[in-house]
């Protein structure tokens, strides 16, 4: 009799634990979505500024071509290729910003300033996103979650490898 009771308790606890783990994982997936949405919008804004810089007087024709190309590529890349495309854009912008002190013209100065502010925000957004992805991958890898397929149909989060030092 008592062994039946214990069995029921164990099953109940196990059911609770499964539901708890599923909620936990669901939250993490949500966190990844949020941090990606945030990073994505910041990167889109950066691409827009890059195109504007390409049209301004800061950049020579070669740089304009490179920037426009990199910006469009970054905008159109799929999530998986995104970080590589964005790194290309970072590189192009980095070369341009090296001589940022000598830039004249109010509009150009404002553009560069906006870009610099954006870059520091992007750094933060990357840190937040990378952490969310790491956490989620860690929890997804747990045996119990894999065994009971608690991740459901949620796609594996994509690691965003951004070259920090380029920024």
């Amino acid at each position: 009799m008592s062994s039946l009771l214990i069995l029921i308790l164990i099953v109940a606890f196990f059911a609770w634990y499964l539901s708890y783990s599923a909620t936990r994982l669901d939250r993490l997936h949500h966190r990844v979505e949020t941090s990606w949405a945030n990073l994505d919008s910041l990167l889109q804004r950066r691409a827009a500024i890059a195109i504007e810089i390409a049209r301004s007087e800061i950049s020579d024709p070669a740089a304009s071509l490179l920037l426009t190309f990199a910006a469009h590529q970054a905008r159109e890349a799929s999530i998986k290729d995104r970080s590589q495309a964005e790194s290309g854009l970072s590189g192009a912008l980095g070369i341009l910003l090296e001589g940022a002190d000598e830039i004249s013209g109010a509009h150009e100065k404002a553009l560069v300033l906006e870009l610099q502010e954006l870059n520091s925000k992007i750094k933060m957004a990357i840190a937040i996103h990378v952490d969310a992805v790491n956490r989620t991958t860690m929890v997804r890898a747990k045996p119990i979650i894999r065994l009971f397929r608690l991740a459901g149909n949620a796609p594996e989060p994509v690691v965003y490898e951004f070259e920090d030092d380029v920024l």
Partner: protein, 391 residues
């Protein structure tokens, strides 16, 4: 100024509001800054009494004093506190929650457990790895990972977080009102070959005794040295342990005002911070640097990282009065070097100004809010509330 998109911000302070402390004053200053920027801010904190609370603070109940991590912490937990926390969250309709020290057993942790949605956590403590943390991590992890973004107040705090909870954080320092300190006036009565100390000097971890032990060796090199101690406490008791022939060099000023503090830090020859531990950030050092003071501090992690590992101030081996006296004598003998370092430190300290720090914190809020949803009670807590008929 911040872009005017008014947000409802809920901040949770884990420690008793009525007891002075670094976290409490950080939360207070931040709340006031955000309010003046046009946001709607509510702070939930334990408090001994509801009287004298600023109108943006909501009391969560009376704090309990428990020894935690080598100091007495005034924290709050338990079913009644948890009910208060849930009520505050469900009524607050917040856009973002900012939880301070969510890894401490107090209401920040409870709020993190109870809420769902955009949440930012700030970690203040920089502690060495303790055995007990192995045991508590499994409980903390699922709760802490609900935070959308994490802030550490120093590199040391970030390292602690990485080590204990295996999670990274963005470093945003604590804020000071730098302009108050930038414009400190040099007062002759405190300047010259003088050493300054600020703090509750009777607390052993503030380290006044280490400074006093170092004094005899300093006196033999600089016979005109004077020590000024500011802060609350009983000077007679403190003087008892000091050698009689040194007593007339030590001057107790008692509690000083903010304005006097700025002048004090600007005037003293060297500012000494011999704290032996328990410091999360070392806001006083940021203030001292902003005033242009030359600083000597113990090499505890928080101080070492704030002083840029010796770039903006000098460190000595913590609790080693011999090393302290050597550093004092060395700096007093090289005024040029000392002033150069202090000048560098003064420029650097501007980055602790609230205008810079609060903007950064708000940037993190914006990132947490990117999903566009509001803070709600977590589903498991919602059904619990329904069950108890609270909703």
């Amino acid at each position: 100024m911040m872009p005017i998109s008014k947000k409802r911000i809920g901040i949770v302070c884990p420690y008793g509001w009525d007891t002075p402390g670094g976290v409490q004053s950080h939360v207070g200053d931040l709340a006031q800054y955000l309010i003046s920027a046009g946001h709607n801010v509510s702070v939930l904190a334990p408090a001994l009494s509801d009287e004298n609370l600023p109108d943006y603070v909501v009391s969560a109940g009376r704090p309990i004093a428990i020894p935690y991590n080598g100091a007495v912490a005034r924290v709050l937990f338990g079913p009644i506190a948890f009910a208060r926390v849930r009520q505050w969250i469900s009524q607050g309709n917040f856009d973002v929650l900012h939880l301070h020290e969510p890894a401490i057993p107090s209401i920040s942790l409870l709020a993190c457990w109870a809420a769902d949605g955009p949440m930012v956590g700030t970690f203040h403590a920089a502690a060495k790895r303790q055995k007990v943390s192995f045991a508590v991590v499994p409980f903390l992890e699922p709760v802490i990972e609900k935070l959308t973004a994490r802030i550490a107040v120093s590199e040391a705090a970030r390292e602690t977080l990485k080590e204990h909870l295996e999670t990274d954080a963005i470093v945003v320092p604590n804020g000071i009102y730098a302009d108050r300190y930038r414009d400190g006036v040099l007062e002759p009565r405190w300047s010259g070959n003088t050493l300054g100390f600020i703090g509750r000097f009777q607390e052993p971890r503030k380290g006044l005794s280490i400074l006093l032990d170092a004094l005899p060796r300093v006196v033999s090199a600089f016979p005109d040295i004077q020590v000024f101690v500011a802060g609350p406490g009983n000077p007679d008791e403190a003087l008892e342990v000091i050698e009689p022939n040194l007593r007339d060099r030590i001057h107790f000023l008692g509690r000083i005002s903010e304005k006097e503090k700025a002048n004090f830090l600007t005037s003293v020859g060297l500012y000494i911070a011999p704290n032996t531990g328990g410091e999360s950030f070392g806001i006083i050092l940021a203030e001292a640097l902003a005033s242009g003071a030359s600083v000597i501090a113990s090499d505890i992690p928080a101080f070492d990282s704030l002083l840029g590992h010796g770039k903006y101030g000098t460190t000595f081996t913590s609790e080693d009065s011999k090393d302290l006296s050597a550093k004092i004598v060395d700096l007093l003998s090289h005024p040029d070097e000392r002033l150069k370092k202090a000048k560098l430190g003064k420029e650097y300290a501007q980055s602790f100004d609230w205008d810079v720090v609060a903007e950064k914190i708000f940037d993190v809020y914006e990132m947490a809010m990117a999903g566009g949803r509001k803070v709600t009670l977590a589903s498991e807590n919602r059904s619990w509330n329904k069950f108890l008929g609270r909703e």
